[in-house]
């Protein structure tokens, strides 16, 4: 018995063991660290730099050097005071909301069709998803040729069917061009909605439909009472991602119209591009970039807030 204290003194002090939960948390943090670092370097730093540049009148050669000039709001004043600013906000609203709505509508319709598992559905599935595999610039080029008022297939078909008496100036009329470009981007974007909606549809238990049918519910009632509520969570995430994607879409407009005619398709993202890369005004481009970011974040947060409220109800 006398040896016991001596033995306990000889043993090294054991550190208190981490609990299983704490160890899991540590492991998860370690696993997430590369992603956090990547996000910090590739997202947070460029955004911080963008915000910084927007407050200075810098030349291209000065962007990556220590800034010695005084800060100014001149870029924001110039960007928001430009007569094209409000029209470009309007063009952005049409492009983002109508584009996402159209992509959602086509995506939901095609997902419902695919969910019916009709004969030849595998081929149909491949066809439906194919626009997704086309590069955005190529998709825009395809639509630019299809919608051309001189040799475009769409006008040829419309004229041949007698639906119009003269070619429709899809890309050369300021009243039509924004809708044409919006539709073209929706065509490129809808397969993402199809896939997400199809996954959501397949996660709804079939027993719910069977029970509803036994209760005498018709197709429309089953769609509104079972399908739509089942899709709600997926819809929220998909529309959120779709909105963000549409906000930052610049190549489709640039390829199809370059922002014209008469600046009718000049979205905020296109203005950022034009100011920075065409007019070589990085400060003003950065200010517009920050404003675009604010509008995009505010819109998507408003959407998330609105849809969460509805889900709670």
């Amino acid at each position: 018995m006398a040896s016991l204290p001596a033995r306990s003194e000889a043993l090294p002090r054991r550190r208190p063991r981490l609990g299983r939960q704490a160890r899991t948390r540590l492991l998860l943090t370690a696993l997430m660290l590369p992603a956090i670092l990547c996000t910090a370097v590739l997202v947070a730093w460029p955004i911080a730099k963008l915000v910084q540049i927007s407050f200075y009148e810098l030349r291209l050669a000065e962007l990556m050097r220590p800034i010695t000039k005084p800060w100014t709001l001149a870029n924001y004043t110039a960007a928001t005071g430009h007569p094209g600013f409000v029209p470009s906000l309007a063009a952005t609203a049409v492009f983002v909301f109508a584009g996402t709505a159209a992509a959602l509508a086509i995506g939901l319709a095609t997902a419902l069709l695919l969910d019916l598992k009709l004969a030849g559905s595998t081929l149909f599935q491949a066809l439906v998803v194919s626009p997704w595999s086309v590069a955005p610039a190529i998709a825009s080029l395809i639509w630019m040729f299809l919608l051309n008022d001189q040799f475009g297939l769409v006008n040829y078909l419309l004229l041949a069917a007698g639906l119009v008496s003269a070619p429709v100036p899809f890309l050369t009329s300021p009243d039509v061009a924004i809708w044409a470009v919006t539709f073209a981007t929706a065509w490129k974007a809808y397969p993402f909605f199809t896939i997400m909606m199809l996954a959501a549809l397949q996660s709804i238990p079939h027993s719910q439909y069977e029970a509803a049918m036994m209760d005498g519910a018709g197709r429309i009632r089953r769609f509104t009472a079972i399908t739509l509520p089942g899709l709600r969570g997926f819809l929220r995430v998909t529309v959120f991602l779709g909105l963000l994607s549409q906000f930052r879409n610049v190549e489709s407009v640039l390829v199809m119209t370059g922002g014209g005619p008469a600046r009718s398709t000049e979205t905020l993202a296109v203005r950022v591009y034009t100011e920075t890369f065409q007019y070589l005004s990085p400060g003003r481009g950065a200010a517009l970039g920050v404003l675009t970011l604010v509008v995009a974040v505010a819109t998507t947060l408003a959407f998330l807030w609105a849809t969460r409220k509805r889900a709670d109800i």
Partner: protein, 417 residues
């Protein structure tokens, strides 16, 4: 064991020797947007010859479409990582010089005959007394026309602008009598791209007017007059509206337009022409008393590279500017090079319309550039085409478009009166 060590040693030596030899070679980065065009073979040959003349120096030649190329240049300049050899559309030269990313070339150029032997527009590539580029090509314009179409309609090749309009009217036809025009007399670029602005300048310079003179924008009444003339072509239905360059060229070379205005590179499109056009196309001098002159594209040097690299880049520019390579430029590309007098009999025999473009390019002309505000060219052309496309689409009258353009330009461009 010894064998294993020896093998390991050999392997290591092989691996280490690779980067050592690579390090001994200097690689000059040279992106361009002209490799896929008729200029490509000349650039490739020049780069190869430079490599042979300069052992240990290799030029990495890459290609990108024009818009992507210039976007890449801007990004690389902003990041402080420019290419060694800068090739660009001339309208970017003043902007980049103004942004402080280009090196003045005078200390090298002044030791050569370039400034004395070049097309007049070479002098325009300077900002505050320093030269920032070497003109590779000066704009030379022509009226590309379909000779059988003109003959069939009994129309002579126009030599004045009113004749051009009349010819375009007579050549516009509904060939299959379905009530729609399927042969346009003229294909004019009235798009919102910078080439839409060039259409305006063809007509405005063609009326013997510059758009800016002595830092003063031309009168609204004069701008209105030019816009109104373009609108007459649109209203008469002799040209489709909103055409950009590609559809404009497609319309002509596929046999659906009788005439269009293009630069000295136009013959390069003939190989893609429809059978009915391939033998019938011709080029005539542009029927305007004055032309929209100015530099088309230029070679330059970035500021942010080492002095050693700058010397190597200058060697390349000097080689491109040498009489021999300028002669080859005309022969291989069919375009009149920057060095005056470089087009020889061989090139003229190979390219029947080269003499015409040569005369056009070296003829004293008005400038398509807003003189004194060249660094704002892109903003200038954008504000112009905004008004012009609105007019062409029927949203604005020529007068309203001209007033909108003048107000926009004076608001956006500091110092423009």
């Amino acid at each position: 064991m010894r064998r294993s060590i020896a093998a390991l040693g050999l392997g290591l030596a092989a691996i280490l020797s690779q980067p050592l030899s690579a390090r001994a070679e200097t690689v000059l980065d040279f992106p361009t947007y002209q490799l896929e065009e008729s200029f490509g073979p000349w650039w490739r040959a020049l780069v190869e010859a430079y490599g042979q003349e300069n052992p240990g120096v290799r030029i990495k030649l890459t290609n990108a479409p024009s818009n992507d190329h210039h976007r890449m240049l801007t990004t690389r300049f902003a990041a402080g990582n420019p290419p060694d050899i800068v090739h660009m559309t001339a309208r970017f030269v003043w902007g980049y010089a103004d942004e402080g990313v280009l090196e003045p070339l005078d200390r090298w150029m002044d030791k050569t005959d370039i400034k004395r032997s070049w097309v007049p527009s070479q002098a325009s590539l300077s900002v505050a007394g320093s030269t920032y580029g070497l003109v590779m090509l000066n704009y030379g314009w022509g009226l590309v026309y379909n000779e059988p179409m003109l003959r069939q309609a009994g129309v002579a090749v126009p030599t004045t602008e009113p004749e051009l309009f009349e010819a375009a009217r007579k050549l516009t036809r509904d060939r299959d009598a379905d009530g729609r025009t399927d042969q346009f007399g003229m294909a004019l670029n009235t798009s919102s791209s910078s080439w839409g602005f060039m259409t305006f300048m063809h007509f405005h310079n063609g009326r013997d007017r510059d758009i800016v003179e002595g830092r003063k924008l031309d009168d609204v009444a004069e701008i209105t007059r030019t816009l109104a003339r373009i609108q007459e072509y649109v209203k008469a239905g002799v040209t489709p509206t909103g055409l950009d360059n590609n559809p404009m060229r497609q319309l002509f070379w596929q046999g659906n337009a009788a005439m269009y205005i293009d630069g000295s590179w136009a013959p390069g499109y003939a190989k893609r022409a429809a059978d009915s056009v391939r033998d019938g196309w011709r080029i005539a001098p542009l029927p305007f008393p004055n032309l929209a002159g100015g530099p088309s594209n230029a070679l330059a040097m970035p500021k942010d590279i080492s002095a050693e690299r700058k010397e190597l880049v200058w060697k390349f520019i000097q080689m491109a500017a040498s009489p021999e390579w300028q002669r080859r430029y005309a022969l291989v590309t069919g375009n009149p090079p920057g060095r005056v007098g470089s087009v020889d009999a061989e090139a003229r025999a190979k390219w029947p319309f080269l003499a015409l473009f040569e005369a056009s390019a070296s003829r004293p002309s008005r400038s398509h550039l807003p003189i004194g505000f060249e660094n704002e060219y892109n903003r200038f052309s954008s504000i112009f085409t905004e008004g012009m496309t609105a007019m062409v689409a029927g949203r604005l009258t020529p007068d309203a478009a001209a007033r909108q353009i003048a107000t926009g330009l004076k608001r956006e461009i500091k110092g423009l009166e």
